[in-house]
Symmetry: C2
């Protein structure tokens, strides 16, 4: 299993605090030492960092923890390899361009004997995760177009996710920069922070932050993660089969499929 982390916010916000907690699980408080990656949207651009080694001891992860990169959507993954060698090409999040936007994807889980029909997008590495991502985009390109409504796109994504989830474990983070689509088959939790902001303490590191000092009263910042990152806040646990669509820090659509 791997660990996932994502953020959706209504104002450019850094992810230093949550990223610090998560990266400790990459070879320190957790066993996920086979690589880490993070993608930050800034407008339509994406700033990504990937390393095929443990985040807990990474110099570059240290810079990402301490250098506030402000974003409205970010996706992060720390890896404990099951399918595919420990290489840079197998390190999430994966990214492709579709309809003039960058789409980013991170996944945890494994599908039994998944094989995708050939399509326009092809995996570069050899993880089933990247093959799934390419399959999702190939089907979007086949059944939708750039003018499709968000409802149409999300409807198709939910049907795809439901199909994959019946074949195995499929916890998903997917974004095109406008929205963040999250789908849970086994483990996922979220928290939405808004005024009045208070302090929070990481579970995985001796670190407390006072969000009141770092925010304005209008900020809404949500974090989605495999397992809650703080010990003194109330996280909202996803049910198996549950999906939530986030925009600007808020859930704008949600639902649950039967598995």
């Amino acid at each position: 299993m791997c660990e996932l982390l994502a953020m959706s916010a209504n104002t450019p916000t850094d992810l230093c605090f949550s990223f610090t907690g998560l990266t400790r699980r990459g070879g320190d408080t957790g066993p996920h030492g086979d690589g880490w990656g993070i993608a930050f949207y800034e407008g339509k651009g994406v700033r990504a960092f990937h390393e095929p080694s443990a985040s807990a001891s990474s110099r570059i992860a240290e810079v990402v923890q301490s250098h506030p990169i402000k974003s409205e959507v970010a996706i992060c993954h720390i890896r404990q390899a099951n399918v595919g060698a420990v290489t840079l090409a197998n390190t999430h999040p994966f990214m492709r361009e579709l309809w003039g936007r960058y789409w980013t994807f991170a996944h945890n889980g494994q599908l039994q004997g998944f094989s995708a029909p050939p399509g326009y997008y092809e995996p570069v590495g050899d993880t089933d995760s990247e093959a799934l991502f390419c399959d999702m985009l190939n089907r979007l390109r086949q059944h939708c177009d750039r003018d499709s409504s968000r409802d149409t796109l999300i409807g198709l994504l939910v049907r795809q996710a439901e199909g994959y989830a019946r074949q195995g474990v499929f916890n998903l983070l997917l974004s095109n920069g406008d929205w963040l689509f999250t789908f849970c088959t086994t483990k996922m939790a979220s928290i939405t922070r808004r005024a009045p902001f208070g302090p929070a303490r990481l579970k995985d590191a001796d670190l407390t932050v006072d969000f009141a000092a770092e925010t304005t009263p209008n900020d809404v910042v949500s974090v989605v993660v495999t397992e809650p990152l703080t010990s003194d806040e109330r996280w909202d646990i996803y049910q198996p089969g549950e999906w939530r669509l986030w925009t600007a820090g808020e859930v704008v659509q949600r639902g649950r499929v039967s598995l």
Copy 2:
């Protein structure tokens, strides 16, 4: 104008020395303060860094300078914007996946009134450079396939480059990880370092390196750049219209088109 830098090597090699020289031109010894980016191939994977701000004062550029990331092919660009706003989405190198490989591209120059026919690959930002890159890949996808020989691919790339070069300034770095294709209309120079290695001194920073201490006798490392980076070595200047294809540090094909 922007400045370009690329490396082709027969063994994983870091680019710290050359990158240090180039990044000084990004807002210090040169005016290219509108962003910088670098892509390093590691196997089939790519590790990329992009920032829409001056490299000379960047904390992340500092880490890339001092943290030896070893690669056999790397492409780097520092930007002085002419077309397109100073945004992350407009920051080179650009990357797309084609036939299960990541292709990376950096360009300097400007084409008068370039417009590309619509295709599968679309620009995310609004530079003519990214539109050119998408056009090149769309035409590769149209006229070649994954089994096309390298000669066929390069023949098509040369014809494309020749066409673009007739419309303006088109200095190009393009790689699929196996080879590095370079094309010059105005300014480009290269150097190949091999045993016996000696010292070299940067023009743009007070830094000397003794390559003999950092290499083995079999290493072959070539650097391609807009303007020579060192003051005490002999660089091989490209002619207008000249192209060179590099693999493992050596020129494996070359030619010149009339402009």
